[in-house]
């Protein structure tokens, strides 16, 4: 598969760069560049997972993108000898509106592979001064520092070409990289065609991950303004990178974090909401969108939020099966509906979602990944209670979410008209396209869930999770855990399979910082959202077929799995050892780093062909 368009120019330049890199050995320093999908290492090369024939740092780069989107690349400050340097990332002409954001790439050491991968992105000023080896990263013989360059193209930018130069000053010697951005007339829609969701649980870890903030606030940390600003910063880092953030506020035993629910008083018929103050401080700026006022995407309410509803809240499980349970549930949830309505919080979808599992010994049924037939009755009862609590025609959007795997097809049948937001095990949905079709025909929201590719996998692997939902015609994907980088992500990294952000604490930033993988995912979301717009003028199946061909040389049928033998077993007889039918290497080990670039090239081809405005 041949690279096209700007990709081709890159490869021509990279050949030249190979020659030039040899020459720089005798210079003080050199500034080079790499496209986003070739992640650099700390010695001037490309990380093992992303290497491909002919790929090498280059002396110039051309980026192309639609309006209302980011384009990105890496900059590499290379110095054969230790010393001070400064990097000026440059700036585009003010009239262009293009905005430059620079991040220093942290090189994580992975004991299991005994090498370094960049992932955490530390925001730095466009004029950055430091030295190599970078003191805090502590890499012996480090000769290259990498930077992630984000360039935001506002929606009102005039289409055309814009140029700037990034300049490295090492020992008084200057090295420059010309950067050209070609802005197309097309515009990436504000609403993403796939929701990339990032999940986490509770908040106790925030005090550990942000010791500077928590120590400063002392015992009042969890009720302090800084704490709520920190939570909002989590929402913001995902929102700004075209993602969604979910934070579950209750435990498997029904313990609710005080900031995730209004405070209740009374019991039975007298149970009521006594205090909204913590809840409103926490969620108010998220529900009215003001928490996102200073973002490129602008202030919008969060799309979704977990409610604190669980078997123990708002009704006490002590009354389960008795009139008091219904009264407590209905009274409190009705008050919530009224509060949300009066506040005008009518955009966000409020999820009644049961995460508990009986294995954690607090309740007799599984809310999450239900497996046992007797558990279905509870879901039906909660649906009834929710309908009693929420008046018909309420503008407040309550949804009933279920995360389903073992018994997906059974739950889809039994909970028709009950659950309307499905988060499906990816492996289970993979062989049941008819389930996806059924749910979408009902008007339900359908996501899948799974893990996150570790940094040691080729950079394109994270984009597979963007492309797959779109290929399947569903709505999103959940990274089941997106905020846990492990005990020492900086020097003993475990790979990042459960995180896409890092604590900024060690850099004096009281907020999460993004990652290379999160940025790669964001750029893919932009592309697929723009690609989806062309369904107005082309058949969606044609768009999907070409995207699949370019991505990994597959056909549409390859994106669904054959039905595995275990699928016909009683779910209680199934085990995790039951083997599905593997997708094949083109979805895994043979999926090269350049896969998404080929899809992007396709999107840009279409965007160039469409008359301006058609793809808005």
């Amino acid at each position: 598969m041949q690279p096209r368009g700007s990709q081709l120019r890159f490869f021509s330049l990279s050949r030249l760069a190979i020659i030039l890199i040899g020459a720089l050995r005798c210079s003080a320093g050199d500034l080079l560049t790499l496209p986003e999908h070739f992640r650099p290492d700390p010695f001037g090369g490309i990380v093992e997972a992303d290497r491909s024939p002919g790929a090498a740092p280059a002396r110039a780069i051309t980026l192309e993108g639609a309006r209302a989107s980011f384009v990105s690349c890496h900059l590499l400050a290379i110095m054969p000898q230790p010393g001070d340097y400064s990097l000026d990332a440059g700036a585009f002409p003010g009239a262009s509106g293009l905005q430059v954001e620079l991040y220093r790439e942290w090189f994580h050491y992975l004991p299991k592979t005994k090498n370094y991968y960049p992932d955490a992105l530390v925001p730095v000023a466009p004029q950055y001064r430091s030295k190599l080896p970078e003191p805090d990263n502590r890499i012996a013989n480090q000769t290259a520092q990498a930077f992630w360059l984000d360039i935001w193209i506002p929606a009102n930018t005039t289409p055309g070409s814009y140029r700037m130069k990034a300049v490295l000053n090492a020992g008084g010697m200057l090295s420059a990289v010309p950067i050209e951005v070609k802005v197309l007339a097309a515009q990436v829609p504000a609403e993403d065609v796939v929701a990339m969701d990032h999940n986490t649980y509770g908040t106790s870890w925030l005090a550990t991950d942000y010791p500077s903030l928590s120590q400063r606030a002392g015992d009042s940390f969890f009720t302090s303004d800084r704490y709520f600003e920190l939570i909002q910063a989590f929402h913001r880092v995902f929102y700004e990178n075209r993602g969604v953030f979910h934070q579950l506020g209750y435990g498997h035993g029904g313990k609710v974090g005080p900031e995730f629910a209004p405070r209740l008083e009374g019991t039975g018929k007298d149970k009521h909401i006594a205090d909204w103050s913590l809840y409103d401080r926490h969620f108010g700026p998220l529900f009215d969108g003001s928490a996102f006022a200073k973002t490129h995407l602008g202030p919008r309410p969060i799309k979704l939020v977990y409610l604190p509803i669980n078997p123990e809240w708002p009704a006490s499980f002590l009354w389960w099966g008795e009139p008091g349970y219904e009264r407590e549930f209905v009274n409190v949830v009705s008050e919530m509906e009224r509060h949300f309505r009066e506040k005008g919080w009518t955009t966000t979808r409020f999820e009644m979602f049961f995460n508990h599992k009986k294995r954690y010994k607090a309740f007799p049924w599984d809310g999450d990944e239900a497996r046992f037939p007797a558990d279905t009755a509870y879901m039906l009862e909660y649906s009834r209670l929710l309908r009693r609590a929420v008046p018909p025609g309420s503008p407040v959007k309550f949804v009933f979410r279920a995360d389903s795997s073992w018994t997906l097809d059974r739950q889809v049948r039994e909970l028709a008209g009950v659950v309307n937001f499905w988060v499906c095990g990816q492996g289970e949905l993979a062989y049941q396209p008819e389930v996806a079709r059924t749910l979408k025909q009902r008007g339900d929201t359908v996501w899948t869930y799974g893990g996150t590719p570790e940094v040691t996998e080729p950079s394109s692997h994270i984009t597979l999770q963007v492309l797959r939902p779109w290929m399947w015609g569903i709505d999103g994907f959940v990274h089941w855990m997106a905020t846990d980088p492990g005990p020492d992500p900086w020097f003993q990294f475990e790979g990042g399979g459960e995180t896409l952000v890092y604590s900024g604490d060690r850099f004096g930033i009281g907020a999460p910082i993004p990652s290379v993988r999160l940025k790669l995912q964001r750029n893919a979301v932009q592309d697929i959202t723009l690609l989806n717009e062309f369904r107005k003028t082309r058949a969606i199946e044609q768009l999907r077929a070409e995207a699949a061909r370019r991505f990994n040389g597959t056909e549409l049928k390859d994106w669904w799995s054959p039905r595995p033998p275990y699928a016909d077993k009683d779910p209680l007889d199934r085990t995790n050892a039951d083997e599905g039918i593997p997708e094949g290497p083109r979805f895994h080990e043979a999926l090269d780093a350049g896969a998404w670039q080929r899809v992007r090239t396709y999107v840009l081809e279409l965007a160039r062909q469409e008359p301006a405005g058609d793809a808005k």
Binding site: F260, G321, K358
Partner: protein
């Protein structure tokens, strides 16, 4: 005077998770509740909580499926709910936030035990979060062997009183842990 103090303690909602009760006084209150637990919790009902199928899987190990035991953990709803409600009522006797947890032995050598019912504050001096079953703590072994109530001071200011649960044959079949914490961690176990 004692009644007044008891009233004040009971009236305190402890919204900030901060206890005003001395360690000794708290232990005495928990002891009182634990004693009631022995009287009120029905050991025969407890024996019917975990299903036979679940017990068959409980100690299975499969290198190809590390979750085989937990994925097959199941309970009979009626005895579970009946016992949980009793434990919740017992917890209401505490003057401050407390949980009453049910523990039951698991067959095997060396002896093991599993927490079988937890409650809303998600407190325990013994449970390691997520464990389906675990080695038998010496304090629980003592309760099961002798019928004594045992007071245990755990980590992070937790105090537990362990009490025996009897079935109709006068066998000790389970242990109730009545537990409170000097300063409740409002964020812990919200996950």
């Amino acid at each position: 005077m004692k009644a007044a103090i008891t009233f004040l303690l009971a009236a305190s909602p402890l919204l900030m998770g901060q206890s005003i009760v001395s360690s000794e006084a708290r232990a005495q209150e928990l002891e009182r509740v634990a004693k009631a637990a022995t009287a009120m919790v029905d050991g025969d009902v407890c024996l019917r909580i975990e299903t036979k199928r679940s017990r068959e899987f409980l100690q299975k190990n499969d290198p190809r499926d590390p979750w085989i035991a937990s994925d097959n953990f199941d309970v009979d709803h009626a005895p579970f709910i009946q016992t949980k409600k009793t434990l919740m009522r017992l917890a209401r006797l505490c003057p401050e936030a407390c949980d009453a947890n049910l523990w039951m032995p698991v067959e095997g050598n060396p002896p093991r035990i599993q927490i079988l019912i937890r409650n809303v504050y998600e407190m325990s001096s013994f449970w390691k979060w997520g464990d389906l079953h675990q080695p038998m703590p010496e304090e629980m072994r003592r309760v099961l062997a002798t019928g004594e109530r045992v007071t245990f001071r755990g980590k992070r200011g937790m105090i537990s009183v362990l009490a025996p649960v009897y079935d109709s044959l006068n066998n000790i079949v389970a242990v109730v842990e009545v537990v409170s914490q000097e300063k409740r961690d409002l964020q812990e176990n919200v996950k």
